[in-house]
Amino acid sequence: MGAGIEARVGPSEIRLRNQSLEAQAVEPAYDLSGAEILVRALAEQGVKTLFGIPGGAVLGLADAVGRYGRFRWILTKHEQGATHAADGYARYSGRVGVVLVTSGPGSTNTVTGIATAYMDSSPIVVLTGQVPLPMVGNDAFQEVDTIGVTRPITKHSFLLRSPNDIADTVRKAFYIAGSGRPGPVVIDMPKDVLAAHGDYIPSAEIVVRGYKPKIFGHAHQISRAAERINRARRPVLYIGGGVVASGASDLVRRLAIENRIPVTSTLMGLGAFPSDHPLWLGMLGMHGTWTANMAVQTADLIIAIGARFDDRVTGRVADFAPQADIIHIDIDSSVIGRNVQVDIPIVGDARHVLIDLVPLVKGPDTKEWLEQIERWRQDHPLRYDRESQAVKPQYVIEKLAEVTDGEAVIVTDVGQHQMWTAQFYRFKHPRTIITSGGLGTMGFGLPAAMGVAIAQEDGAPRRPVVAIVGDGGFQMTMEELITAVAYRVPVKVFVINNGYLGMVRQWQELFFGRRYVASDLRQANPDLARVAESMGAMGLRVERREEVQPAIEKALSCDSGPVVIDFRVDGQENVFPMVPAGAALHEMIEARPSDK
């Protein structure tokens, strides 16, 4: 089967996959304004949609966008919304998402969105207005040191200094954002540079001297890894967002299935392996399944691919996978060996490393191991009270999985609902969960879902888009519902409304003597279905168990714009299993202590 693996592709082709798939041919043009050059450079990169809000510093550019007429501008209600939308667009489509905002407050409002994209390695380019170069540093009106403010949360940044640099800067920015370990890039655009005149010369070869992502893994390390896998008795594949980003899911599936190696994943890696497959262990970590956590703690080999041993995954590091050798494959050498000791490090793009690795692996004997796993699975399934008459959040998500058959794109916010989604939705395809894993940004869900739906209008595969959000996080960015209405974006927003900042409430219940300080939302929560209606969206409310399925079906059948379902769920429900902070993975709490 080894020969069946497609031929190696070089770095330049990877770049094509990331950015220039649908590049528009652009003719050379002379004596244009910087703004006009910039729109041509964006067109050259295949950009179809911009998200953002204009302002004084970018009015010339906004005008050039309008006159050039080849992009759609999605006018959001807040720059945070624009940035999350571009991020969702990028995560779903694999193409660079583009944000355009004005100087000062426009740019500072993007900070949470940039940090979110940075932590989850999502490729976005953020174009920020800036005061004219001669005024930089004078505390001019709406001036902020955008590059300084965003430096720690960007992969790279550029300041435009002359109109003739613009096209090349845009090319470099897209290349850097979309290649290697992807990430956000800021281009700060002084107003006078956008106004000054220069020439647009179509694409030349891009050279960024210090930047050479390592694509191929070291051959010797790869053969060592294969030998080690062949000798394993209790191997576990531990996969993360890097598998999704590099398009390696199909190879991970082959590696696992042909060799009968069980698979667990991080939150970011969900969907890279089908959750209805018998080798699927479920997610691992703080709210991972019993089976996944026990498998890791008992394994003699961990094969980590595109995952970085985040503290939410490892539990107490000193006791993580105590019996296992670790093979770690990642494109970012700085994450290898950072949190846990690694026996076989392989730096490279997951897809390319697996192209080389998979043919060398010859089925280790895992029969007994899989039997052990099956026993854990039987004895410790994910539980909740399925008989309850109250609307249980887990029930809502199971029903959604059933109705959509795992074929929807699920975008989440952050909190309990996010963990229940990870546990109870049956993900089948890569890029079908979009969630803020690294930064844990409440307010991400709705705008990112909008970005996913818009990416579909730009040619990404069509699937229903469902944002699953908490009542707390929804209220952080719910103004973007207005944007979704304005552009008739058919996102379904499932508010898991428990009347609390639920995840905070859970920690307070378990670790702070049930003192619910600043986590009770019940006094002031508005009627969210009516809020939705007042913004022009369809609003539904579900208070009883029998209403769950019909409401889901009704929402999914509405194609004309956004729908909000306010699920009034049991406010006391908690996420289990749970590895308390500072505990080892096998020290899970399986249910509410008082329920035992």
Binding site: R151, S157, D332, S334
Partner: protein, 166 residues
């Protein structure tokens, strides 16, 4: 956790407006120590060479070099600690000098092959070039006389080409 060791890291970097702050920001943002950092033009136009003296255990030093390598404008990172290298630092030390201590100070300056570059009725200013250790040593010797001000450049360093030569 291993032992803390001093490392001298040489970084070849493109001279763009953001390269220096990005490197400095890496150290502050990730909580790494900087003992000294110095930078100037390198052999090639548009490039700068930076010498960073830092401390940490092996894990921290590995992270520092990897993180430096991730910075887009960084072309090459070399941890010189593991090979012979030439290192120089320049220090100016303004030291209190009285009638009775002046000649003693001058003797010390001679022994270290340093230079007196300014003189006033109450002070001498000493210029000293050498390894960090040497600069440290002369400052130690001068301290008892009363040091008024010190200005140091931080180390600059290059790998040695020919072993066995000083």
């Amino acid at each position: 956790m291993g032992e803390m060791k001093e490392h001298t890291i040489s970084v070849l970097v493109e001279q763009t407006f953001d390269a220096l702050p990005r490197i400095a920001g890496l150290f502050s943002g990730r909580g790494y120590q900087i003992d000294s950092i110095s930078v100037g033009e390198a052999e090639e136009p548009g490039m700068a060479r930076m010498t960073i003296v830092t401390r940490g255990d092996d894990g921290v030093i590995e992270q520092i070099t990897k993180q430096l390598n991730k910075i887009v404008n960084v072309v090459k990172v070399t941890d010189l600690t593991y090979e012979p290298f030439v290192e120089r630092e320049l220090a100016l030390v303004k030291v209190t000098a009285t009638q009775s201590t002046r000649s003693e100070i001058m003797q010390i300056v001679n022994i270290f092959r340093a230079k007196i570059v300014d003189i006033s009725p109450k002070t001498l200013t000493v210029e000293c070039t050498g390894s960090r250790a040497k600069v440290q040593a002369i400052i130690g010797m001068l301290r008892p006389f009363g040091i008024r001000e010190i200005s140091r450049t931080g180390s600059v360093a290059l790998k040695r080409e020919f072993r066995g030569e000083t």
